[in-house]
Symmetry: C2
Subunit: 432 residues, 2 copies
Amino acid sequence: MSTELTVSNIVLVAKQHEIEELRHLEARAQLVGDIGALIHCLQNERGASSLFLASAGARFGDTRQALIAASREREGALRTSFDTLLQHSNHGSAKLYSLMAWVLLGLDALPALRAQVDAQQLGPDEAVAAFSRLISGLASLIFEVADTTVNPGISRSLVALFNFVQGKELAGQERAVGAAMFASGQCDAPHQQRILDLIDAQERNFQVFCEFADETSLAPWQEMHVAPYVVILERLRRVLGSAKPGAALDANQSDKWFECCSDRLAAMWSLQCLQVERLQAQCAHLIAEAERELTDSEGLLTQLRNSPPPSAGLGERFFDPNIPIDHALRFTPTEGGAPPVERSIIEVLQAQSERIANMETELDSARRALNERKVIERAKGVLMARFNLTEEAAYKMLQKTSMDQNRRLAEVAEAVLALPAFFTPQPATPRR
Amino acid sequence: MSTELTVSNIVLVAKQHEIEELRHLEARAQLVGDIGALIHCLQNERGASSLFLASAGARFGDTRQALIAASREREGALRTSFDTLLQHSNHGSAKLYSLMAWVLLGLDALPALRAQVDAQQLGPDEAVAAFSRLISGLASLIFEVADTTVNPGISRSLVALFNFVQGKELAGQERAVGAAMFASGQCDAPHQQRILDLIDAQERNFQVFCEFADETSLAPWQEMHVAPYVVILERLRRVLGSAKPGAALDANQSDKWFECCSDRLAAMWSLQCLQVERLQAQCAHLIAEAERELTDSEGLLTQLRNSPPPSAGLGERFFDPNIPIDHALRFTPTEGGAPPVERSIIEVLQAQSERIANMETELDSARRALNERKVIERAKGVLMARFNLTEEAAYKMLQKTSMDQNRRLAEVAEAVLALPAFFTPQPATPRR
């Protein structure tokens, strides 16, 4: 059906377009929920796999099988979400699809990885690294959804959620590394440093989370800081952090470590679910609001259909220099003078323009947080390629420069990207 | 038709999605061309209307009628483009529709404006201001298209074009204001200052144009600086700029002023057409390239259909810690080892990820130029509302602070936006 080109029809189409975009956003919130749930299951499976391998298959075999079944169920749900996105190819960005393909490569590879764990062909560290790689790909998907969201409220919630999931992932890695250390019965320097790095990196993520989360999420987060398992965790962290390399560790503490880490992760998981629920409620609320506005606008504009075209009267008003217009096209109708029909169309358009302008401004702050991360990640990539560094070493190089020069980390990263002559990535050489 | 969820299908869908987005971009390039052409015609009509009114209807009556006919033709073309966008509501952003509605309000109001000019119910300044308002709305549409373009090459071209159109618009205003000054036979201080401001603002736009334009556009731009009409223009600019307020101006110079400004605008118009042609060629080239890549990928991936699922083999490669992966998911397949089918899918995905990552980086520089303008426009809006200033006065306030504090204009604008307590817009009060 063809729609006549009139101002009021464009206003209505813009509103319908907005509702459709919000519906896509609702589907994305579902996707983000599915991703978060699979990450949680894979974290559990990673922990159990690490303990299973560290104990040479003696322990955690049954737990691991139960956790694999849980992972599989969540994987199925995520594949359904992926499938929906694949069938509606206009809903995603090129980058989203590229990340999806990469994640699917990993999901397809999971059975082979599990078979290697079954046969104990991997060390605990290798298994942890493999699961972590897949989880990191899954987290990138959440980041991409946050990055392409145009609604400021949802964008803020997604920035908070992404950083929370990243922080939780690092907490999961901490559990796996620490459990392997205790189970091995001996402290070694690389694992010890890794634990300290993981604690540090968690702090950074949770800081951004606190900046962007709303009250509903912040209250349970504060409560988590006084929970009993935190006391145990901090004591065991101290044991791991202060032991001399080579010193013996009490292998029986492995369970206690695993348990308090798991309690903390379970609390995080509850909070993650709460955030996803809130996100979905936010989307539903926005859709209901936009639909109500559409109905209101339709009501206001219906009378136009039975009135003469508004051109003549509106003309004088459009070009009236006494009605100020700024770049955002907010113009203030003067009091009295105009008949109600004209006023209504100008008011609807004005309200719409005003809302769009406000949303743009609000969106900027959420975008800034995401952009800083992108710049830092890109600068890390340049340094990794240029100096053949690990990700952690590249990060430390940025961090050290930031502290030495008393400049923000993002500024240092910008500077690295602005000096391509010094840092152009070399042709990649296999590290074998 | 349902597509099976496999890595290779996602890779192909991502490619198809990219081609579809490029097609939308091609339609946008058409829209931008139509907008630019209408702006050009309205500029001509504005110049003739101003002279017609300044001469109390004695001159430029016929020229004006011919120019109105030309404007109408271009308006028809633009309405067709708008109509296409309205029928395919998924192609635009909420903001694009809001701007379209506003512009349509102005187009609907044009006949009433022309009737007022016919009846000489307006002064030349009022007529210039009315046309300028509509042209500024049209230019905002070009800005919005540039702002929502995700291809870095096209985005750069659109940033260059937008700034060129803005610069040309200011040159058109200069022609109209100067012609009215000469025709009135007397110099007055406000118009004199306006001419100087317009010359200044043109410089700023053409600077950004030069930064983002490619060689094809820069060469004719350089040639324009040594054209004969520029010598005449500069002499007449000097006459207008140095005359004492109240001093007599030679009304016969009005034609010469109009002529040399028109020659300059005609040259700009040619260059604008060249830019639009280049833009369309760029889009066509990108589509052809993406389609070739799609065919190549399909060729490479076809063999997968007849091969066993790649899960097992790829699995080891996905989790192989010796294949480094950075945040952009660029991973380097090791030499030898993998069968050709596996290598091809990894290579296709890798090439796609790499291209997306590079495009993101390139896009940033174009976005930065657009964002700076947005921040400055927003800060102007805040100052206008807060201190009840005109746009020009708000700009000067920013500029003065920038010079006094030796900080970039965009930084000052950021600071204005960061201090909401000082600058919160007051509820708008009608200025009548």
